[in-house]
Amino acid sequence: MGFDQYHEPPDELSPATRTFARLCASLTEEAEAIGWYEQRLAVETDPEARAVMSDAQGEEFKHFSMDLEFLLRRSPAWREIAQGVLFKPGDIVEHGEEAEAEALEGGEAGGGGPAGSLGIGSLKGASR
């Protein structure tokens, strides 16, 4: 097993950042699995096999959604932008641009989260 979800030396990363990176890796894997099942379902003709794969893809939808919700809870900036894009009818790109601009209006004023949060969150697992 590799540790390639880290792009910086893990010892220099806080427990919270390591957890965040792990869930980002999980999110990627779930999205890949959804795509794989989509392709397999597109070519499979056996109804029984399709039912099994469709059920499996539903699991990946759930896993992806849970990963995403976790990450959004830990990243106020991401959450703020996502709230402007997700589950809204209309032009996706337009919503994205608006949400980004609104978030960055506060975000331009310094680091941390665009909403002004310092992004500290849970410190459970910190050694002292």
């Binding site: 809870r73 106020p76 506060g106 002004g116 310092l118 500290i120 697992g125 910190a126 002292r128």
Partner: protein
């Protein structure tokens, strides 16, 4: 722009970055409660109450033939620590000064971290029941002799085990007690810190604001910190000389398993 009004502050982007970094650096070591209890959120500034799953009776009903109950919730509390910084100091920081005077920010960061610790570990009268208030166990005593700390700590762990509370266990030490532990070697030179680690199988945490110490389980599900707005840096006002800022957060805290902690008096 949200309620923190950051974009109205007359400072540069790099100054905001400086202040955010300084605040995070000062807060993180001192936020002891977050190192030991379950954390959920942040749910945002608009989030006002945590659900308890409990109801309260109502003495009346809208009409005959029906009964009613009222849901109970725990309102979040807000903590805020105000401070002001010199505009000249921030301008010097923009010029590249690496020794800008941010002492007022450091003090505010420490104060709000202490307030969070005190609320979680000891409680906030009339607002939140802390771990100490909730614990049903007889209090133990650390005593004056630091060498002897392993005895009450082991006693606290035994008491938790006796009550079916599994580990790993953590030790939250007040500032004075932490310093004494770190600087003490037992007879034979074995560091006290290492001995306590072996007893607890969990972290030993510097917890400024804590009176004495607490031993508690970190298995999860026993102590619940729910964050509305996580610690944030906001802008209040300014004049020609200073800019007024504040650190702010909102949260609730609940003890789900009162038996999961033992208080050690100093």
């Amino acid at each position: 722009m949200n309620h923190l009004l950051r974009s109205l502050a007359p400072i540069s982007d790099s100054s905001w970055e400086l202040l955010d970094d300084e605040a995070s650096e000062r807060l993180t070591p001192a936020l002891a409660a977050r190192k030991l209890v379950d954390f959920s959120g942040p749910h945002g500034w608009e989030y006002s109450a945590s659900k308890l799953g409990r109801t309260a009776p109502l003495t009346s009903a809208p009409c005959d033939g029906v009964t009613g109950l009222q849901r109970r919730v725990m309102p979040l509390v807000e903590l805020r620590a105000d401070f002001e910084l010199s505009r000249a100091e921030l301008r010097d920081a923009d010029r590249g000064a690496v020794d800008a005077d941010l002492e007022a920010l450091d003090t505010a960061a420490h104060q709000i971290a202490v307030a969070e610790n005190v609320t979680v570990f000891h409680g906030w009268h009339g607002a939140i029941t802390g771990i100490e208030e909730a614990s049903p166990h007889e209090r133990m005593h650390l005593g004056e002799i630091t060498d002897a700390y392993p005895q009450p700590v082991a006693g606290a762990v035994e008491r938790l085990l006796h009550n079916g509370i599994s580990g790993p266990y953590a030790l939250a030490l007040g500032g004075e007690q932490y310093q004494r532990v770190v600087e003490t070697a037992e007879q034979g030179g074995y560091p006290l810190l290492e001995h306590l680690h072996k007893i607890l199988e969990g972290p030993i945490i510097w917890a400024p604001g804590v009176r004495g110490a607490l031993v508690l389980s970190t298995r999860g599900g026993d102590f619940l910190f729910e964050s509305g707005q996580d610690l944030s840096l906001g802008y209040d006002s300014h004049d020609g000389e200073v800019i007024r800022f504040y650190l702010e957060e909102s949260f609730s805290f609940r003890v789900a398993t009162p038996e999961a902690a033992v208080v050690l008096d100093p």
